[in-house]
Structures are given as structure tokens and as C-alpha cells.
């Protein structure tokens, strides 16, 4: 870099550029937060959904699965599993784990109560209704 571009000029560009970026990001975040209720349908966010999310977290589901594409890539996407499999299948599947098929990937048994299974399904149903710009590309996730 030539001599007319000094270190202090570079520093000022850094502070200016960073400040501008932070402010723009905050403005976009503010607008997003304002728009979100139409996209996440929070009017349907019942106590069951909240409890279901809590179960999702305390069983570390995201340690194997993805949800809306985020998490681990060891087990299927669950953001749309409610649409792919339906409530009854999800519950039976969770209760049937682990499959103990030799060599297959195994999911732990969590000993959920019926209420907890309902809560999890409520959470997965609510999640499947988020406006994700049509992601995933198809039902397989």
C-alpha cells in the first residue's frame, strides 16, 4: 500500500466501516423482529409447544438431528418431520428406540410420558408451520 494511505486513515476507515455495519445490522434486526410474528405464527405458541422445546433441548436432540437445517448431520431433519410422518408415527418411533439393529445408527430411549410425547409433537408441529421460504426443497428434508 502506498505512502499516502496511512495507518491512521486505515484505522478511521475501520471504525467508520464497523460502526456503519453495526447500525445497518441493528436496523435490519429491528425490522426483522417487527416482521417475525407473521412468519413464526406465535399466536399458536402454546404452553405445550414451549414445554416441547424444553424437552427438545434437555434431550440434546440437536446433537444428532437438524432442525430447520441447523444442528448435527447424523440423523434426519426434524423441522418438517410433522408433515413427513405425522403425530402418531413420531410418538411410536420415539417409544421404539433404540432399534438395536446391529451396525445401524441408534437413538437413545428417553422414557417419555404421554404428556411429554404430546408436548414434543406440539413443538414439532409448530416448527413445521414456520415460514421458511419453502425450505427444505422436498419432504425428505
Amino acid at each position: 500500500m502506498s505512502a499516502f494511505f496511512t495507518k491512521s486513515m486505515a484505522r478511521n476507515v475501520f471504525y467508520g466501516g464497523t460502526l456503519f455495519s453495526v447500525l445497518l445490522f441493528l436496523a435490519l434486526t429491528f425490522h426483522t423482529t417487527w416482521k417475525l410474528p407473521q412468519r413464526d405464527h406465535r399466536e399458536n405458541l402454546t404452553p405445550e409447544v414451549a414445554r416441547g422445546k424444553h424437552l427438545w433441548e434437555t434431550r440434546n436432540c440437536v446433537g444428532c438431528h437438524t432442525i430447520l437445517g441447523e444442528g448435527a448431520y447424523f440423523a434426519p431433519e426434524l423441522g418438517n418431520v410433522y408433515k413427513r410422518r405425522g403425530a402418531a408415527f413420531i410418538k411410536v418411533w420415539i417409544q421404539a428406540q433404540p432399534t438395536k439393529v446391529p451396525g445401524r445408527r441408534q437413538m437413545p430411549q428417553f422414557h417419555f410420558t404421554d404428556q411429554q410425547l404430546d408436548d414434543l409433537v406440539a413443538f414439532l408441529k409448530w416448527t413445521s408451520e414456520i415460514d421458511t421460504e419453502n425450505w427444505p426443497p422436498n419432504i425428505e428434508g
Binding site: 500500500m1 496511512t6 495507518k7 486505515a10 475501520f14 466501516g17 464497523t18 455495519s21 445497518l24 445490522f25 435490519l28 434486526t29 425490522h31 426483522t32 416482521k35 417475525l36 412468519r39 413464526d40 406465535r42 405458541l45 409447544v49 414451549a50 424444553h54 427438545w56 433441548e57 434437555t58 434431550r59 440434546n60 436432540c61 440437536v62 446433537g63 430447520l68 437445517g69 441447523e70 448435527a72 448431520y73 447424523f74 440423523a75 434426519p76 431433519e77 433404540p98 439393529v101 446391529p102 451396525g103 445401524r104 445408527r105 441408534q106 437413545p108 428417553f110 416448527t127 414456520i130 421458511t132 421460504e133 425450505w135 427444505p136 426443497p137 422436498n138 419432504i139 425428505e140 428434508g141
Partner: protein, 469 residues
């Protein structure tokens, strides 16, 4: 060779702990790699999710140990004054190490739900989110350690010379601590949860951590090349400007499909497409400084690590990030093995390698010599190539797996189910695992290089030495 400032010595245990935890991270990585092809390997003793938590959390913790060690080493030298409190640095070391060890033991010893109950997750629910799995006491411990660490570093900078390198490092560290506070925000609304979760994860690794990376790299290049400080610091400002201007709005590339408005596909694509530029600038910076060097530093291994960081950070974070960052492409690749490929090379190339750069430069001095013996350096450079080349192969095999996965599961007219597709990727997963074994061998050589017998050696500054490339 003596340390310029005695308090720099506190960096040593930090570096040793970083390397020890690095070994743990790789061992659990090998378990995970095997579970990808032998699904029930170690089940139910160590389920995949547990091994993955250990793998990723150890990565974060050893990098933090590396960053803290780097700060304790370079801040006294930059500020030309002793560290405010070496005692505090020692105490924090043990607090952080014990908290980290207890957390890993907790992951392995009890079911995660039990751990959550035992550690008061119901008081404030923060657990069970990717990379932020730590129990509440650990998270609070991280905040306490970070604040006390910042106090120590801040007081040192305050009383000493304020260089751009130390100020940029401090800004990065403050940003790291402040953004971690979003780990405590976990609303029931998954969309809001995800939106602000990225303020920790993305704004760390594609934001403030890059300031830390730049500062460490700048410091090492300054020392080994003898290039004028003005030149190096000007470069640094340009690099971090490009980093933050592209990276902050670039957060948008995580907002495409999680419920945020569609306009993020434009903001995210355009700005994150610029994210390779600062990494490219960093590559040019490294080679430029080494080519313009005014001295032949006897530590050729450190020079190699510095150049390697420049190249691999650009490839892993820049090129492999760009591969899938544009929204129309990401629509198909989101949350696939492509993401895993990028994650592996980016973390290794940018952060693991910069920590090994500062360790390579500082550790010999901390052990009383300017550079290691020829033999130790040759071994260290062998470990560099073993680890770096095997990481390239890990990335290539995961990328191949990812392309096939995306094709079979998301592109073709009759898409196949997740597990059906996974079965067909086994060949690539096996090859990835074998590359992982080579990586581990490289790590063993790396550690062995610290104990390689010294032969008496005299290196005169100014004599022609082969360049580390």
C-alpha cells in the same frame, strides 16, 4: 534467550492445556467418524450426541485457552510492561480448566437431561442448543473468567504502550465476552432463539474472533520478519475492516431458511460473498510480510505455521464458505455434509492453526531459547504437513459426500430418505475416517516434537537459512 517480561511466562500452562484438550477433541472426532459408518459403535455408552458435544466444546475451550495464552504472551511485550496480575492469570487458568473438565465429565457420566436438572437449567434454560450445551454454572464460569481476564489484560494495556495489535486483540476479546451474553437468551420461540443464537456463533467465528486471529498473526509476523510495525498494523486495519464490513451483515447467510424475512437472502448472499476478501487479504499479507522480511528468524516452523494459517483460513473459511453461501445454492446444501466440510477446514485453517502459530513462536522462548533445535523443527513441520494435508482430504471427502447427499436427497425427481442416502455415502465416510487417523498421527508427531532431544545448535542471525515454504 530470556523473556522480555517475566509475566509472559503465565502463557505456558495455557498453551499446554490447549494442546492437551486438542488431543481430546481429535479422539472424540475419531469416535464420531466411526459412528457415521458403524452406527452402534460405543452405543449406549457414548451416544453420538454426547461425543459431538465433547468434540465441539473441547474445540471451543482449547481455542479459548490458546487465545488467552496468546494474549498473556503478546500483551506484555506489545505494551512494554509486566502483566497487571500474573497471580490472577494463574488462578483463572485453574478455574477454567477445572470447570471445563467437570463439564466434559458431566456430559460423559450422566444423561444430558439429568445433567440439566442437576445444574439448575430450570432456573434459566440455556442448554441443549448447538455449541452452547454447557450447563448454567459453566456458562456463568465462562463469563466470570472472561471478565476477570479482560480486566487483567485491560489494566495491562491501560498502563502501557497502546499498539494497534494490542488494541485490536482487546477489541476482539471484548467482543467475544459481550456476544457470549446472548447465550443466556433462549426464548420459547424457536425463530427468535435461532436468530440471536447466531449472534454468539456467527459473530464470534466470522466476526470478533477474526480480530483476535489478525492480532496474533500480526504479532508473530512482526517478530519473525522484522518488517516495519507501521506496515503490519496498516495491513491489519484493512483486513479487519473488510472482515467486519462483510461479516456483520454476512450473518444474514444464516437467516435464509429459519423463519426470518426473505430479504435476508439478498443481504446475506451479497455481503457473505465478500467474506473471502479479508481472508484473501490475510493470505497476501502473510506472504508479503515474509517476502519482505528484514531478518532470518531461526524459527522456521513458526513461519510455516503463519503462512499455513493464511492459506488454509482462506481455503477453509473463504473458498469453502463461498461454495455454499449464495442463497440459491444454500437452498440445496443447507445443513448437509457440505456444511460439515466447511466447518472442519475453516476451524482448523483459521483458528487451530493460528493458535499453533503463536505456540510455535512463543513456546521455545518460554522454554528459554529463541527457536527449537533443527530436529524438533523438522518434526514440527512434518506434523504441520500431516495435519494440514489430512484436513484437506477430510474436507474433500466430506464435500464429495455432501454433493452426493444433496443430489440424492434434494435434487433428483424422486428424492430418497435421509438414512437411505447416508448408507450410500459410507465409502466417503470411511475415507474421511482414515484421513482423521492420519490427522491424529500428525498430532502425535506434533506433541513428540516438543520432547525431541535438543542437539547443541548455534544459529546466527543473518546467515542464509532455507525459507520455511
Amino acid at each position: 534467550m530470556q523473556l522480555h517480561y517475566q509475566s509472559q511466562a503465565v502463557a505456558k500452562p495455557y498453551f499446554i492445556a490447549a494442546i492437551a484438550l486438542f488431543v481430546g477433541q481429535i479422539l472424540f472426532g475419531l469416535i464420531l467418524g466411526l459412528q457415521y459408518v458403524i452406527g452402534d459403535f460405543l452405543f449406549p455408552a457414548i451416544p453420538f450426541n454426547v461425543a459431538r458435544m465433547v468434540h465441539t466444546n473441547l474445540l471451543i475451550v482449547w481455542l479459548l485457552f490458546g487465545f488467552m495464552g496468546a494474549a498473556y504472551y503478546l500483551v506484555p511485550e506489545e505494551t512494554e510492561t509486566e502483566l497487571h496480575s500474573p497471580l490472577l492469570a494463574h488462578v483463572l487458568f485453574w478455574i477454567f480448566l477445572i470447570a471445563g473438565a467437570l463439564t466434559v465429565v458431566g456430559y460423559l457420566a450422566v444423561p444430558y437431561a439429568t445433567l440439566a436438572e442437576m445444574t439448575g437449567n430450570d432456573i434459566l434454560q440455556t442448554m441443549g442448543r448447538e455449541f452452547l450445551e454447557q450447563p448454567l454454572p459453566t456458562k456463568l464460569g465462562i463469563v466470570v473468567v472472561a471478565l476477570a481476564f479482560l480486566y487483567n489484560i485491560g489494566m495491562t494495556i491501560l498502563k502501557g504502550r497502546k499498539t494497534a495489535i494490542s488494541m485490536i486483540l482487546l477489541m476482539g476479546l471484548v467482543g467475544l465476552a459481550v456476544l457470549f451474553l446472548f447465550a443466556f437468551y433462549n426464548p420459547s420461540n424457536l425463530v427468535k432463539d435461532k436468530y440471536f443464537w447466531w449472534w454468539v456463533v456467527h459473530l464470534w467465528v466470522e466476526g470478533v474472533w477474526e480480530l483476535i486471529l489478525g492480532a496474533i498473526l500480526g504479532f508473530v509476523l512482526l517478530k519473525i520478519t522484522g518488517v516495519d510495525r507501521e506496515v503490519i498494523e496498516k495491513w491489519l486495519y484493512v483486513i479487519i475492516t473488510l472482515t467486519l464490513v462483510s461479516g456483520i451483515i454476512g450473518t444474514g447467510h444464516h437467516y435464509y431458511w429459519i423463519g426470518a424475512p426473505g430479504y435476508w437472502q439478498w443481504w446475506g448472499s451479497i455481503f457473505s460473498a465478500l467474506e473471502p476478501i479479508p481472508f484473501f487479504a490475510m493470505t497476501v499479507f502473510c506472504f508479503n510480510m515474509v517476502n519482505r522480511r528484514r531478518r532470518q528468524h531461526p524459527n522456521k516452523a513458526a513461519t510455516l505455521w503463519a503462512l499455513g494459517t493464511g492459506v488454509m483460513a482462506f481455503l477453509g473459511a473463504g473458498v469453502w464458505g463461498f461454495l455454499h453461501t449464495l442463497a440459491p445454492i444454500n437452498y440445496y446444501t443447507h445443513g448437509s455434509q457440505i456444511t460439515a466440510a466447511h466447518g472442519h477446514m475453516a476451524f482448523y485453517g483459521a483458528y487451530a492453526m493460528v493458535v499453533m502459530t503463536i505456540i510455535s513462536y512463543a513456546m521455545p522462548i518460554l522454554r528459554g531459547r529463541e527457536a527449537n533445535s533443527e530436529r524438533a523443527q523438522v518434526l514440527e513441520m512434518w506434523s504441520f504437513w500431516l495435519m494440514t494435508v489430512s484436513m484437506v482430504f477430510i474436507t474433500l471427502f466430506l464435500t464429495a459426500a455432501g454433493i452426493l447427499q444433496v443430489w440424492l436427497q434434494r435434487v433428483i425427481p424422486n428424492p430418497q430418505a435421509f438414512m437411505q442416502v447416508q448408507d450410500q455415502l459410507a465409502l466417503f465416510y470411511w475415507m474421511r475416517w482414515l484421513s482423521g487417523i492420519v490427522f491424529f498421527i500428525g498430532l502425535v508427531v506434533y506433541i513428540y516434537s516438543f520432547f525431541a532431544k535438543d542437539k547443541p545448535q548455534t544459529v546466527e542471525v543473518g546467515t542464509a537459512q532455507p525459507v520455511a515454504t
